[in-house]
């Protein structure tokens, strides 16, 4: 049992545990906290795989920005205890949901165990790491040469997302020209038909 294996087992179990608790928590704030726990242990796994930069980015961007955004929304909406999980569904449909997820997991296990990867990697063990694998320099070199076009398109995606979020979350103001009227109030045909009666 080497140190590598010990670190892997601890962080993998923590990641799975955090994800499970995230789903089955009633309190959304606790749910976000467990998600952060799961993310940090996933970042440990990334770093173990040599992806130091991506692991750091995962903590900074996910735990530092995205999940704080979730927390902001939860606090803003003042959500506390939500209703019972899956309260409206019958036991059979609940069982079916777990069964479908379990089947999907089994299917992925078979793909992992499948023949594709056995040929390229001997007995599943990893080959020695190349120099500067996972460093900022090599990631940046890929992003700005081979994947320059997708990388630039990403900025358009982000701009669209920002504009979309602002437009969707905007409070409709009183001076808004578009106003939803009751169904029959402004319908000329309806009025004339009523007058004819």
């Amino acid at each position: 049992m080497t140190l590598d294996l010990v670190i892997f087992i601890i962080s993998a179990l923590t990641a799975i545990f955090g994800a499970l608790m995230m789903i089955f928590q009633r309190n959304p704030v606790a749910s976000v906290m467990y998600m952060i726990l799961s993310l940090v242990s996933q970042a440990v796994l990334y770093m173990q795989l040599g992806a130091l930069f991506i692991g750091a980015v995962l903590i900074i961007v996910y735990a530092g920005a995205i999940l704080v955004l979730f927390l902001f929304v939860i606090m803003m909406l003042n959500l506390r205890q939500t209703e019972d999980m899956d309260s409206d569904s019958t036991p059979i449909s609940k069982l079916a949901k777990f069964l479908v997820s379990g089947l999907l997991f089994l299917e992925m296990l078979f793909v992992v165990r499948g023949s594709y990867f056995q040929s390229s990697v001997e007995t599943g063990l990893l080959s020695p790491q190349i120099d500067d694998f996972g460093s900022v320099e090599s990631v940046a070199e890929l992003l700005f040469t081979t994947y320059l076009y997708p990388f630039e398109l990403t900025s358009i995606l982000l701009l669209t997302a920002i504009v979309g979020a602002v437009v969707i979350a905007r409070k409709p103001s009183n001076e808004d020209p578009v106003e939803i009227l009751p169904f029959d109030s402004d319908d000329d045909e309806f009025k004339s038909a009523k007058a004819a009666e």
Binding site: I54, L69, V100, L158, A161
Partner: protein
């Protein structure tokens, strides 16, 4: 490196399965969104593991793009949650059945 690549892939598959359970079972819209994020992260873990096994850096660039997409999805999704909460006073997805026949 004594940990085989398969172990990382199994962890990724497990996280993805948990994310699917969360999407199907949870009634809270915010927890549902977080489950989607979890599924994206499981895919990221698999990408990093493959990239390490093949000694190619390309997987890291993909993970970068996936992280961007996750951020965009979270911002738009949370904006929709805020609007829905303003109109319905709840985030329980069973209440949002206006379009249901």
């Amino acid at each position: 490196m004594t940990v085989p690549i398969d172990a990382y892939l199994v962890v990724g598959a497990g996280l993805f399965g948990i994310g699917v359970i969360g999407v199907l079972v949870s009634r809270n819209l915010i927890i549902l969104l977080m489950s989607v994020e979890l599924m994206l992260n499981a895919a990221n873990l698999a990408l990093i593991a493959f990239s390490r096994a093949l000694n190619l850096m390309d997987g890291h660039a993909f993970v970068f793009l996936v992280l961007t997409i996750a951020a965009a999805e979270a911002s738009v999704g949370l904006a929709m949650v805020i609007t829905l909460y303003r109109n319905h006073d709840t985030v329980n997805i069973d209440r949002f059945s206006i379009l249901k026949w």
